[in-house]
């Protein structure tokens, strides 16, 4: 009995250790690379530590600042565009008895069902004709494509959970349809809509393929910078970029996490 309990605990500990290694191992390696000044085979650990590469990355000419700025701007615009389309679309899909509702929902999934490389290549070809290649707008559009899928699906589910009689009560007491949507439905759906925004934002932050085909070389985002650095064998720069990439993600998640707390939520929309 006791021996078996011990065995179970050892087994559990081992499993946790392996999972932790799989999850955190690459991150640890990345963190070491970010602060390594010299790290040659066959040394297991860097032989020289320091911030020399950080200084190189953040040199004005190196483009890290511009990339960071681009990444955040593109992500924010992609969130805005996706939500601007997903809120009315999700509301209509949730509320109206559209005959082809399920078909429409599946259509939204279609871009995700195909391998995205051919899709982005084709988008790049079309955008080239429209003069959108290498523009911020083009990149935002490309990032909104996968973003819309999350946004519409989550928004539809969220609006469907809003009790219809809450809207009817507002209409009954004198609110126009738009006013009741703004004052009643939207505050009720806010947590779900924020969740959808996180998905779109995080998806955009590390989007690579679409940016590569549509944006490069005029528009560089952090993932592109990282790609270039890795391809050039500059692991330090790639690792530092990756760490920078964490900043907007973690920051956004912290903000959202704060907003998603119930007591804060109940104060939104007043």
């Amino acid at each position: 009995m006791k021996a078996s309990t011990l065995l179970t605990q050892i087994g559990l500990g081992l499993m946790l250790g392996i999972v932790a290694f799989i999850v955190f191992g690459p991150l640890l390696n990345l963190a070491m690379w970010a602060f390594a000044e010299q790290w040659f085979y066959p040394n297991r650990f860097p032989t020289d530590w320091g911030f020399a590469f950080w200084e190189r990355v953040f040199r004005p000419r190196a483009g890290a600042w511009v990339s960071l700025f681009n990444t955040i701007i593109v992500a924010l615009l992609a969130v805005l565009l996706s939500m601007a389309l997903a809120i009315p679309a999700g509301y209509a899909l949730a509320r109206q008895a559209l005959p082809a509702r399920n078909v429409i929902m599946l259509l939204f999934l279609l871009p995700q069902a195909f391998p995205n490389l051919p899709i982005f290549v084709n988008i790049a070809a079309i955008f080239y004709q429209w003069g959108l290649n290498g523009t911020l707008l083009g990149v935002v559009l490309v990032h909104s494509l996968p973003g819309l899928v999350y946004a519409v699906w989550i928004a539809t589910a969220t609006f469907a959970t809003v009790d219809r009689s809450l809207e009817e009560a507002a209409r009954n007491l004198g609110a126009s349809p738009l006013r009741s949507f703004k004052d009643i439905t939207l505050p009720q759906a806010l947590p779900g809509l924020l969740a959808a925004s996180i998905f779109v934002f995080l998806d955009s932050i590390d989007e690579f393929t679409g940016t590569f085909f549509v944006g490069a070389p005029e528009i560089t985002t952090l993932p592109l910078l990282m790609f270039n650095a890795s391809m050039g064998g500059n692991y330090q720069v790639a690792a530092i970029t990756a760490l920078i990439l964490l900043i907007p993600s973690v920051g956004f998640m912290l903000i959202i996490e704060r907003f998603l707390k119930a007591d804060v939520l109940s104060r939104i929309g007043r």
């Binding site: 009817e168 507002a170 209409r171 007491l173 004198g174 004052d183 009643i184 007043r270």
Partner: protein, 346 residues
């Protein structure tokens, strides 16, 4: 705002190729309390929602006072509705819930606060203004929902089973409270309910509905004593139906069946001759608190009666119903007008 009469003319509604309401005609007096009563699925809630403007009519007209509201959107109708779920907005406090209809009407903040405070006081909820609606009990929510509807001083109040989500004791006390409030405001009120006791206690006028049609419109007393047909009678607790026999008291010309309630039927009591008599064997005897409910097997049918003392199973007993408690029905299962003795002679 002045309270108004409500007139429904030929109101017909189809939903998904199915007729939900069939040519409803109804007149509701200003300041009266009308109950829409019927089993679930009879169309009573649809009718209420049609009056509020949430269900479009396929035919017919709805008038509030002299004005037709048939083609107005819900927000232009001024009909205040209390929903079955109360539909209080959970992201607003009690005070904000009450104040929102006034805010929509552009009432300035100070006046708004005053009217909210007045309403809370009338509902005996003073001091609840800042409270979240999710912290309220069922009865308190119900009162807030009622206050929110009444704060706009509407010409017509619509109540959709407002008491059905409350437990029995609160329900009983709120019935009286609601009725007193309605009378003191003199507001025309339409309430949907499936509870006959509630309708009988509260209404000036009961509209009995079945399968999308109005079966009977009557005062509670009239409806209880003279239900329009057998199904209505059963719905109103008439649980015994017997075929007429020669020696039965003839209180209606051409009656083929009598209906009566269990509490009007006595076993082995000494009534006068002008009563309905049935002999049978006792098949069951259940104590009910007030007395005993006796099941009597008469010619293969089971009749129910009351008795002060228990009766042994298998014993023969006589069930008697005073003539005044008999409800006569014709061969078409419809109520026959009861005949006064004097009319009979004349």
């Amino acid at each position: 705002m002045r309270t108004e009469a409500l007139t429904l003319n030929d109101v017909t509604i189809d939903l998904r190729q199915q007729r939900i309401l069939e040519s409803i005609h109804l007149a509701v007096d200003p300041g009266s309390f009308t109950c829409l009563l019927g089993p679930s699925g009879c169309g009573k809630t649809t009718l209420l929602r049609a009056i509020a403007g949430f269900t479009p009519l396929d035919r017919g007209d709805i008038r509030l006072g002299a004005q037709s509201i048939t083609h107005l959107p819900p927000e232009k109708r001024q009909t205040a509705m209390v929903f079955q779920s109360y539909a209080l907005w959970p992201h607003m406090s009690v005070g904000e819930n009450l104040g929102y209809p006034l805010k929509l009407r552009g009432v300035p903040r100070s006046e708004r606060q005053q009217r909210v405070a007045d309403t809370l006081q009338r509902l005996e909820l003073s001091g609840f203004e800042k409270r979240a609606v999710t912290q309220l009990s069922g009865g308190q929510r119900q009162r807030v929902a009622l206050g929110r509807a009444l704060i706009i001083d509407p010409p017509l109040l619509l109540l959709d089973e407002p008491l059905s989500n409350l437990d029995a004791a609160i329900r009983r006390s709120l019935r009286g409270e609601l009725r007193r409030l309605q009378k003191s405001l003199g507001i025309t009120t339409i309430m949907v309910t499936h509870d006959q006791e509630e309708a009988l206690q509260m209404a000036d006028q009961i509209v009995l509905m079945r399968a999308g049609q109005i079966v009977q419109v009557a005062s509670p007393q009239r409806l209880y004593q003279h239900p329009a047909d057998l199904d209505t009678a059963r719905f109103l607790g008439v649980d015994n139906i017997v075929s007429c026999e020669k020696e039965d008291p003839a209180n209606a010309r051409g009656a083929t069946q009598f209906g009566f309630r269990t509490r009007d039927a006595l076993v082995n009591a000494s009534l006068n001759a002008a009563a309905l008599n049935r002999k049978g064997r006792v098949s069951d005897c259940v104590y009910t608190g007030d007395g005993y409910q006796i099941s009597l097997s008469v010619n293969g049918d089971t009749l129910y009666a009351t008795s002060d003392s228990p009766i042994a199973l298998g014993a023969f007993a006589t069930l008697q119903v005073p003539a005044s408690a008999l409800i006569p029905f014709g061969p078409d299962n419809r109520h026959l007008p009861p005949l006064d003795r004097h009319e009979d002679i004349a």
